[in-house]
């Protein structure tokens, strides 16, 4: 065998994956961004409501806008792109991480639209910003959005890998938004029911999602075997 092989650093494909997610998932971003703008602007006029229920619901729009990563993965599998990437040495883990980060980039766009629209109408309505605003955003809205989008993309990628290549409503891509919305909906219901513990409920939900996500990511090699990343053609 001779001397050990020199380390070869493969290029990151993150930039191009984000760009492709924006192209392939542009409808998702447009719909998510449009909806969140209307929703947030409406809640902004409601004053304090924007910082309570409004901020809690924002992750739902992040989910609807953050489907690009999973879409790119599904497309690439069906078109045979993944086959080439694996042949060139790109690992399934890197492919997954790129898909997650691309989805997070889309989700960020949607969230920023929502925050901008809500804050604008909030201020126009004569309200003043307090420390409560960044607190809610940093402790709940953004982390919950990123966790649900990451989890949704991870499940979508694993599910796509383990099932036959297909698109449509009964495909992983068709079901993913429901999966992404479920945690936020659960937190909303629990927080409204036990309003005194709303903050604890939100943080506990984030912790649970983080644990599930990390556990799934640790099983990447088993849930994304390279022989399941081939096109069926």
């Amino acid at each position: 065998m001779g001397a050990p092989a020199p380390t070869v650093v493969l290029p990151s494909l993150l930039g191009v994956t984000v760009r492709r997610a924006m192209i392939v998932g542009r409808i998702s971003v447009l719909v998510g961004g449009g909806m969140v703008a209307i929703y947030s602007a409406g809640f902004g006029f409601g004053g304090a409501l924007f910082l309570s229920i409004g901020a809690v619901v924002l992750p739902i729009f992040a989910v609807s806008g953050g489907l690009g990563g999973a879409m790119v993965f599904t497309n690439d599998r069906m078109k045979g792109v993944l086959e080439y990437l694996v042949a060139y040495g790109v690992s399934p883990r890197r492919i997954l991480m790129n898909a997650i980060l691309a989805s997070l980039a889309q989700a960020t766009v949607v969230l920023l639209i929502g925050v901008a629209a809500g804050t604008t109408t909030y201020l126009i309505s004569g309200n003043t910003l307090t420390w409560r605003f960044p607190e809610v955003m940093l402790l709940y809205t953004f982390p919950m959005s990123y966790l649900t989008v990451s989890l949704m993309t991870t499940v979508g990628v694993f599910w796509t890998s383990l099932s036959s290549p297909r698109t449509g409503m009964n495909s992983p891509l068709g079901v993913l938004p429901l999966l992404g919305v479920a945690p936020t909906a659960a937190v909303l219901v629990l927080a409204l029911t036990f309003s005194a513990y709303a903050q604890q409920i939100a943080l506990a939900a984030e912790l649970v999602l983080a644990v599930v996500l990390v556990n799934l990511l640790l099983r990447t090699n088993r849930l994304m075997p390279t022989d399941r990343m081939l096109s069926s053609a």
């Binding site: 492709r20 078109k79 792109v81 086959e83 080439y84 990437l85 042949a87 075997p225 022989d227 081939l230």
Partner: protein
């Protein structure tokens, strides 16, 4: 079976002295075994045509050699280094029978995408756009190309960077004859100093470009030999004449051809001399059956 005792002096180029070894290879998908105990060694630049009926395991063999499928047992080695090492992967190009073109990108952007994966430069992209004559499509989205144009772009990718071993899975499928011929010319040029494993369902193409033939059946290697050693049990020659002749009355006919069966091609010159002596004006003499067909039965 082993591909080593092929005879002749190995043709080696200083820059392309790769040796590809498949050793006792078992491979397949998930829990479905496809390849069984495949062993061969390829160590000289040439075109090795991989043939076999549908389901024989050609694509699985290519995917396993390319390191996409992990063998359940056995090894793929390039100069002794396993294919799962990046240094081995970097010595090999794989062209799938699917195009593998990313959605949402133009031709130029798709090639830029692969150039990035391959650590090739923008100048390399420009070069292959001209080499494969696809510059006119460079701003066209992949989804707007015809199947043949997409294939051409897909093939362009393997010229972004030079490698020592090329695995080409049906590279001329779905191409019109003119483009297929151009692609074959490029591949023939490539094979002067590179190892090319080439699968095809077109037996005439296989015979035209292949110097060696590898056949698979039921996931097992059934033949690895020089193309000229592959002979039919029946060697049928067709003779087409310039004008009707009674000298060939009684010969079986197929279209314009008068058919005659021999035990081997070495008898053909004598036939031609005999026919000319009998005043037959010969327009064409050709072998009517492709001996590779028998490898499929």
């Amino acid at each position: 079976m082993n591909g080593e005792p092929l005879g002749g002096t190995p043709v080696r180029d200083a820059g392309t002295a790769a040796t590809l070894v498949c050793r006792s290879l078992d491979s397949g998908y998930h829990k479905t075994p496809v390849l069984h105990d495949i062993s061969f060694t390829v160590d000289r630049p040439s075109i090795y045509v991989v043939l076999g009926p549908n389901g024989a395991g050609k694509t699985t063999l290519f995917r396993t050699i390319a390191g996409i499928l992990r063998p359940t047992s056995g090894q793929v080695l390039i100069d002794g280094v396993p294919i799962d090492q990046q240094t081995s992967r970097d010595r090999l190009h794989y062209l799938s029978h699917v195009d593998g073109m990313p959605d949402g990108l133009t031709v130029r952007e798709s090639l830029d995408f692969y150039a990035r994966v391959e650590r090739a430069s923008s100048a390399d992209v420009d070069r292959v756009l001209d080499q494969l004559q696809i510059r006119e499509f460079s701003k066209t989205f992949i989804s707007q190309l015809s199947a043949g144009q997409r294939k051409r772009v897909s093939i362009a990718r393997i010229f972004l960077r030079e490698r020592e071993i090329y695995l080409l899975d049906e590279p001329t499928a779905n191409l019109d004859p003119k483009v297929a011929r151009e692609i074959r010319t490029i591949i023939l040029e490539l094979a002067k100093d590179r190892i090319v494993l080439y699968s095809s369902h077109n037996l005439f193409e296989a015979r035209e470009i292949g110097r060696y033939v590898i056949t698979l059946k039921g996931g097992a290697l059934t033949l690895f030999d020089r193309m000229e050693n592959v002979r039919s049990a029946h060697f049928v020659v067709g003779v087409r004449t310039l004008e009707p002749t009674s000298a060939l009355a009684g010969w079986e006919r197929s279209g314009d051809y008068y058919l005659h069966e021999f035990s081997g091609p070495e008898e053909v010159p004598a036939l031609i001399r005999d026919l000319e002596a009998r005043g037959v004006k010969i327009r064409e003499v050709r072998e009517m059956e492709n001996p590779l067909e028998e490898l499929f039965t």
